[in-house]
């Protein structure tokens, strides 16, 4: 997969996560209609497909989650860099999201659970997303 395609799939993956959260949030505000369920299902399927394309098919997920003794020196170096970047990105995003929740309010328990689940997903996928974004060849 070319570098540009990988970047597009990374964007699709996180946009679908945003769509999923939005569909869930609007469903909580309004009646849970068939339309809302369809939007949630659509976002979930797109998210799943993009997850497979970015993280599984490229082997980046396996690389990031491998033990150090299974990687060569370049892989250790790039994985370390990706983890370092992910930590910074995640911290900033988590702070911004927590701030929005604190200021805006109005989120019920179900929405908060979805937001925290999304943050966990983000924390878990960011290192391989960073690699998918930065590596020239995978």
């Amino acid at each position: 997969m070319s570098a540009i395609n990988r970047k597009i799939w990374v964007l699709i993956n996180y946009i679908s996560l945003g769509m999923l959260l939005f569909a869930f949030y609007s469903g909580e505000l309004a009646e849970r209609s068939a339309m809302v369920y369809a939007a949630i299902a659509f976002a979930f399927i797109i998210g799943l497909i993009s997850f497979i394309m970015v993280h599984i098919r490229t082997g980046l997920w396996k690389m990031v989650h491998s033990k150090v003794d299974k990687l060569d020196e370049r892989q250790i170096q790039v994985t370390h860099g990706a983890l370092r970047h992910s930590y910074s990105i995640f911290t900033i995003l988590a702070l911004v999201i927590l701030l929005i929740i604190a200021l805006a309010g109005g989120y019920d328990d179900a929405n908060l659970i979805m937001i925290f689940a999304s943050l966990l997903y983000l924390a878990h996928t960011l290192p391989s997303s960073v690699l998918a974004w930065t590596e020239k060849v995978v």
Binding site: L71, D72, E73, R74, Q75, K136, V137, V138
Partner: protein
């Protein structure tokens, strides 16, 4: 600290020996993509890996790696001969 770019002849030497990136990678104990990165000079190997590569090709380190762009091997041999007075 920014390290200097290292130039190498890995690609030429590998093709001379008629082996694939995968085979070379297996011999020197790295992923085949890392061989690609080394050949494109996008990654500077550690001293240990550089020695492993040289040991595999049976060449001194200065014949495989350099901090300056590498001349073709034929030119280098010619210059060596001239130096030796041949």
């Amino acid at each position: 600290m920014n390290s200097r770019k290292l130039y190498n002849r890995i690609s030429v030497l590998r093709e001379e020996r008629g082996i694939s990136r995968k085979e070379l990678a297996d011999r020197i104990g790295v992923n085949f993509q890392t061989v690609g990165y080394l050949e494109r000079e996008e990654y500077n190997p550690s001293l240990d890996l550089a020695f492993r590569i040289c040991e595999y090709f049976g060449l001194p380190i200065e014949m495989v790696f350099s901090t300056e762009p590498m001349k073709p091997l034929s030119q280098e041999i010619l210059e060596q001969r001239k130096k030796m007075g041949g």
